[in-house]
């Protein structure tokens, strides 16, 4: 009994140390101006996505509230689009679409890419060859035409777009993960794990995944940003779910209406700025993590 108490004490001490470490890391992260900038912007957009729709009433199917491409008014502060819809509402609701795309597409990419990457690197042989040739095929075919073709085949609703972006995005992650797996599977501790009787799945989950995770994690930031921008590009090109407001759609209608030449700034400036800010917030956060993980960049 005494020993159990002892063990508990040890565990508590460990927890305390862990808390301390987390505190230090958070301090380090928030002492970084760029990181704080990124977090503030991201927090603003998350706030806009979650709370915005509760505070601001908007219906995507409510047409002709005002004139076509009408100027901003007292009530509708960002004017109207070509169908007379409220632009401010579309910008606020569009945040949801962008964040959802960023999160779900990244989840798919990380899950599929990490699974195939680790398995290909670990097992090697025919499986590795097949997976690698597939990823090569993906990297040769230009992404945008591929996605356009796929969405023409599968159909363009919101979940299909997520699926398509996810399934065309995994190969690069798989290659990255595979290369790291190749190095890690040769380490002594993997051999040791085999010696103590661990199976392949166990080794991949418990020994290789934790070691490739930092790589996956730093990749996630790029993936989220990339997914958001690609989705907007698609919407801009006219591929997307017309029933869901997105920033890309606003940009497309700006182009179709010749908004730049007519000076209808409300069609493209708000959506464009939001897109740039959201995408760059991830880059800034990435810098922050980089400085935590890479002591050489740390200023003391």
């Amino acid at each position: 009994m005494e020993m159990t108490d002892n063990l508990k004490k040890l565990k508590d001490r460990e927890k305390e140390l862990k808390r301390q470490k987390l505190k230090n890391n958070l301090k380090l992260f928030f002492s970084n101006k760029r990181a704080v900038f990124g977090v503030v912007i991201l927090a603003f957009f998350i706030f806009m996505a979650v709370i915005g729709p509760l505070l601001y009433d908007y219906d995507h199917f409510l047409y002709f509230l005002g004139p076509r491409v009408g100027f901003p008014t007292e009530e509708y502060k960002l004017g109207f689009d070509e169908l007379g819809r409220d632009v401010l509402g579309a910008v606020i609701y569009g945040t949801r679409a962008s964040l959802a795309i960023g999160i779900f597409v990244t989840l798919i990419i990380v899950f599929v890419g990490a699974t195939f990457g680790i398995a290909a690197g670990y097992f090697g042989g025919l499986f590795d060859i097949v997976i690698m040739r597939i990823t090569e095929a993906f990297s040769i075919i230009p992404t945008i035409p591929l996605i356009l073709t796929l969405s023409a085949i599968i159909g363009q609703n919101f979940s299909n777009i997520i699926l398509i972006l996810g399934l065309t995005g995994w190969p690069s992650t798989a290659r990255l993960v595979r290369s790291q797996t190749l190095s890690i599977k040769q380490r002594n501790y993997v051999e040791r794990a085999k010696a103590i009787g661990a199976g392949d799945i166990y080794i991949m989950m418990k020994h290789i995944l934790p070691n490739v995770f930092p790589l996956i994690f730093s990749n996630i930031i790029l993936l989220v940003q990339n997914a958001i921008i690609t989705e907007s590009t698609l919407a801009f090109l006219g591929v997307g779910d017309p029933t869901i407001p997105t920033w890309g759609q606003l940009l497309r209608s700006a182009r179709e209406q010749g908004a730049i030449s007519t000076g209808s700034w409300w069609l493209f400036i708000p959506a464009g700025i939001c897109l740039v800010l959201l995408a760059s917030s991830f880059v800034f956060i990435g810098y922050g993590f980089d400085e935590i993980n890479n002591p050489k960049l740390r200023r003391r």
Partner: protein, 323 residues
């Protein structure tokens, strides 16, 4: 005491390479009694590690056991299936790995890695396993306050102790130490060897110690087997072999150690290179480098291990038969 725990009979372990087949271990026979420790010595690439890996069936993909038998505790384990094997490893035979620095996963806590070994083999709860880890830490004289540390917070000697604790986790009957003290400085090396010796006596385990350092063997092993080019050339009681060594290779190997009581001078080296195991020389494998060669017989007939003195001191040399 003469119960044989492990018996290796005419073990041949080959590696397939693009050129053909490399005979890394070519007809090795030895046994380990219960509670006994045996040392395998020899230069790099003579098949020490391959022999050990064959016993635990941990050979890399290119390697395979061509023929021979490995009998552990009366059971033939040469053709064991994967499932039985993973049970056999660690519960029956465990290993202290070469280079403990790298045998611990850097992103997992030391205690978790030992718990892992216990949980994979025994039907106990995580809490019970944790208690066991604590006992093991005390056994290998590590501070239990450090249980939850990460490997990078340990020094080299501490990591080696943790690896030893892991090897003891499931009370194995046989421990294989694959150069357990390389990459450690001499002081720590001595501590670790003492620890291994004490534990072995306390827990009545058998051990196979693999090293190229004869001094480690003389300190820790009851018997010694000298390997050269995939074969055992001399085997017997450690004291007997070191004092009355007969095989010219063993003799050269012992002479290659500097004597600390004498004037400092260059130690003897063995001229020539170890043979290419892809195409080993006919006859005695040491013949091309041997300084006591007695003629054609060395180049044409392969000598066998024979106990000439009747004291279980086996030598594979034609010269011995003639004298």
């Amino acid at each position: 005491m003469s119960d044989k725990l492990l018996e290796v009979q005419d073990l041949k372990t080959y590696f397939t390479i693009t050129k053909g087949v490399v005979k890394a271990v070519d007809g090795v026979s030895f046994y380990v009694n219960k509670g006994e420790s045996i040392g395998l010595v020899g230069e790099s690439g003579c098949g020490k590690t391959t022999t050990a890996l064959s016993v635990t069936k941990l050979l890399p993909n290119e390697g395979y056991i061509d023929s021979g038998k490995i009998i552990f505790d009366g059971k033939d384990i040469t053709n064991l299936g994967d499932k039985e094997l993973s049970n056999f490893r660690w519960k029956e035979v465990s290993m202290i790995f070469q280079g403990a620095m790298n045998a611990l996963n850097p992103v997992k806590r030391v205690c978790d890695q030992i718990v892992e070994a216990i949980l994979l083999h025994e039907d106990v709860t995580k809490k019970e396993a944790m208690e066991r880890v604590k006992e093991l830490f005390e056994l290998v004289e590590l501070d239990t306050n450090l249980m939850f540390s990460f490997p990078h917070e340990f020094s080299g000697g501490m990591r080696q102790r943790a690896i030893i604790a892991m090897a003891l986790a499931c009370n194995p009957k046989l421990i294989i130490g694959d150069e357990p003290t390389t990459a450690l400085d001499v002081m720590v090396q001595a501590q670790i060897l003492d620890l291994i010796n004490d534990l072995r006596k306390k827990l009545h385990m058998s051990m196979i110690m693999i090293t190229h350092d004869l001094s480690i063997i003389t300190e820790t092993c009851d018997r010694i087997a000298v390997m050269y080019a995939g074969k055992i050339v001399e085997m017997g009681n450690t004291q007997e072999v070191v004092e009355n060594c007969f095989h010219p290779y063993t003799e050269k190997l012992i002479n290659a150690f500097p004597n600390i009581y004498q004037e400092r001078k260059m130690v003897d080296s063995i001229p020539g290179d170890p043979p290419d195991l892809y195409n080993p020389p006919k006859g005695c494998r040491f013949a091309p480098r041997c300084h006591k060669k007695i003629g054609d017989i060395c180049d044409s007939v392969e000598p066998t291990l024979i106990d000439y003195s009747g004291k279980e001191h086996f030598v594979a040399c034609h010269l011995r038969r003639n004298s």
